[in-house]
């Protein structure tokens, strides 16, 4: 069996054209991971440019309102570019540069990863091309323009469902075209090895900080860490350093769209089955013949038919739980957090907020919950208005 396994999941299911490049990437990563200068450069970028460490904010009003566990919010929304995506991208683009690459390509769903990649590329002087489903370029038009402002070329993907899955397909195709000078900066803990490992490592800064911060504030570990899951990068980052602490519940929130029993959702753990797609063995929404299902979520970032292989493994072993959250619940939580705490979060992150609203009241007051607030919600305001039937001029 090949490398990069998480239980039965993971692996390297890609065309032969990409294999040597994946091997080179793994070698380069294993080298620079140990390299003091690389780590110093990355830490400086994270601190001086991205604004780390991100705050662990005690949401006092929300805590009082829900009347149970103390709620802390890990403010990844306050990072430069407005989401956790920058953590991974700074690492990968720096790695690409060290490898002698001059061009980066990436997929994006909501546009957060695309904006982050375009940002890092601008900063480090790399050529940048972003692939984004046509449906997503329409619903996230502002992010498309942001990427263009940053000097990236954005390609709307017109195939199939025209969302995140298709953007990944197209970016992989483009990578097989041109590997010599190009790194595919994958945006989540998915795809072929070594990407799930690299992205997890770069995102694990979230739980490394959060663990220190919560111990400082509470003097003990949290009762639960809650994060939204599409491919699962913010969740993996938020879970990682808590995995050995078995008393800490790890809860991933999947996009249930109109409901897990309808045909409009993206709840991979609830509805998916084992498969092999996008370079990895994991769970996927698919039919009996292995055709990948069209999925749906109000959130473009969670609108993905699979889940990263390490999450699939955490599910298999029972170390993490994955729960479905509907569009309606997420929108309500989006509005609730804005009114209660004055924070407009990404609709993706609102899925985690919705789950915390459900579970906090039944937890003890001496327990705490950390919500990973993966991104800010400016990009979603127009879509939420549309959802509520409010006519605004964008």
């Amino acid at each position: 069996m090949s490398k990069g396994r998480y239980g039965i999941h993971g692996g390297q299911y890609v065309p032969e054209t990409l294999m040597n490049e994946l091997i080179k990437l793994e070698k380069a990563y294993e080298f620079y991971k140990q390299d003091a200068e690389f780590n110093k450069e990355l830490q400086t970028l994270l601190n001086e440019y991205a604004g780390r460490p991100s705050l662990l904010y005690y949401a006092e009003k929300m805590t009082k309102d829900l009347g149970g566990a103390k709620i802390y919010i890990k403010r990844e929304d306050l990072n430069h570019t407005g989401s956790h995506k920058i953590n991974n991208v700074l690492g990968q683009v720096l790695l690409a540069k060290k490898m002698g690459k001059t061009r980066v390509i990436a997929e994006t769903g909501a546009g957060q990863h695309g904006v982050a990649t375009a940002t890092a590329a601008a900063l480090m002087g790399m050529e940048c091309e972003i692939f984004m489903g046509k449906e997503d370029t329409d619903r996230q038009a502002l992010n498309v323009y942001r990427m263009e402002l940053l000097g990236a070329k954005v390609h709307p993907v017109l195939t199939e469902t025209q969302t995140l899955k298709d953007a990944v397909n197209e970016t992989m195709r483009e990578w097989t075209n041109r590997v010599d000078d190009t790194l595919y900066v994958l945006g989540s803990v998915m795809g072929p090895h070594p990407f799930p490992m690299i992205v997890r490592d770069f995102q694990s800064v979230i739980s490394r900080e959060a663990k220190e911060q919560i111990l400082l504030k509470e003097g003990k570990l949290p009762g639960a860490v809650v994060a939204c899951v599409g491919g699962g990068s913010n969740a993996m980052g938020a879970f990682y350093h808590f995995i050995p602490d078995e008393g800490v519940k790890l809860i991933g929130c999947e996009a249930a769209g109109h409901g897990v029993h309808t045909d409009k959702n993206a709840a991979t753990i609830a509805n998916g089955t084992l498969g092999v797609f996008h370079g990895m063995k994991s769970y996927f929404c698919q039919n009996e013949y292995g055709q990948i299902a069209p999925v749906y979520s109000i959130s473009a970032g969670l609108d993905y038919p699979g889940i990263g292989p390490e999450h699939a493994y955490l599910h298999d072993t029972g170390r993490a739980q994955y729960v479905p959250v509907t569009d309606e619940e997420a929108v309500e939580a989006f509005e609730y957090l804005a009114r209660t705490e004055g924070i407009i979060c990404a609709i993706e992150s609102a899925h985690a907020v919705a789950q915390v609203k459900k579970m906090a009241p039944s937890m003890r007051q001496d327990e705490s919950i950390i919500i990973c607030l993966s991104g800010r919600g400016d990009k979603d305001v127009a879509a939420i208005a549309r959802y509520r039937g409010v006519d605004i001029h964008e």
């Binding site: 069996m1 090949s2 490398k3 692996g11 390297q12 299911y13 890609v14 065309p15 032969e16 054209t17 990409l18 294999m19 040597n20 490049e21 195939t159 199939e160 899955k165 298709d166 397909n169 992989m172 195709r173 097989t176 075209n177 041109r178 590997v179 089955t273 084992l274 498969g275 092999v276 797609f277 996008h278 370079g279 996927f284 698919q286 009996e288 013949y289 292995g290 055709q291 990948i292």
Partner: protein
């Protein structure tokens, strides 16, 4: 000698591909018949997949047409069986992505290959490191797993060639990128073929981008066979249900060019 190896005994092999079920299964049966009648030595039948990441726009669109016509893996097995009953000697190879095979169940899949006269399988998203999970079941059922070599394979060529299934052939990818017609093929295929020859006696065929009889003749000069996909699928796209004659003429012109 098995059906696949036999075709490489008589001069250069012409290998034609089409997506099964495009525009429907009945027409696929007719088109495959036309290909074989025109001199196609080995037929690759694509099992359509929703997300074919190694395909260019032409075969992507064909997969979509086939899936829109509700083509399933079971339909492809029936198609193979019907072709096999008419053409006893022409090897049939299915080409698809790993997920449809995995989800169908490796054991059931390869048993059905055997039952329906399928001689080999090509899985473009399964590099040789991942072959282990289906190798034995394929072998037990007499299905050759065709390995691919890419322009970027370099020192991997030896390992792939040595690991390759001796009942099949090696699929040498001519170009970077995905499948699709190319006006020019720039890869140094002579060096790649030299490395292949040094490592194995298994026949090797070149595919990806081959479109014109001139290209076919040049590639046949380097390898034991040429593989043509998108150019045939494009005719199915252009002429739909009436593509039979155009496919016959095209395959004949390509086969003639490498005789």
């Amino acid at each position: 000698m098995n059906r696949i190896r036999k075709v490489f005994e008589n001069g250069k092999a012409f290998i034609g591909f089409l997506t099964g079920g495009d525009p429907n299964i009945e027409k696929s049966e007719e088109f495959i018949g036309k290909m074989i009648d025109a001199g196609c030595d080995l037929v690759e039948i694509g099992i359509p997949f929703s997300d074919p990441i190694a395909e260019g726009p032409v075969i992507q669109a064909a997969d979509l047409r086939a899936l829109s016509a509700h083509t399933t893996t079971d339909d492809i097995f029936k198609l193979a069986s019907r072709v096999r009953s008419k053409y006893a000697d022409t090897p049939l190879v299915v080409m698809t992505y790993l997920n449809p095979v995995f989800k169908y169940g490796y054991e059931r899949f390869f048993e059905n290959c055997k039952k329906n006269g399928i001689d080999g399988i090509i899985v473009p998203d399964m590099p040789f490191e991942e072959k282990g999970e289906l190798r034995e079941l394929a072998k037990e059922n007499g299905v050759a797993v065709i390995s691919m070599i890419a322009p970027t394979s370099e020192e991997r060529i030896r390992a792939i060639a040595e690991d390759a299934d001796e009942n099949g052939f090696l699929y040498v990818v001519s170009s970077m990128g995905v499948t699709g017609v190319r006006s020019e093929i720039k890869t140094d295929l002579a060096s790649i073929m030299q490395a292949v020859r040094a490592a194995t006696d298994i026949p090797a065929a070149i595919g990806f981008g081959i479109n014109t009889p001139q290209q076919a003749a040049r590639m046949a000069g380097l390898a034991d066979g040429v593989i043509v996909g998108s150019a045939i699928v494009r005719l199915a796209e252009q002429y739909g249900e009436k593509a039979g004659d155009a496919i016959f003429e095209y395959v004949k012109s390509m086969k003639d060019a490498i005789r």
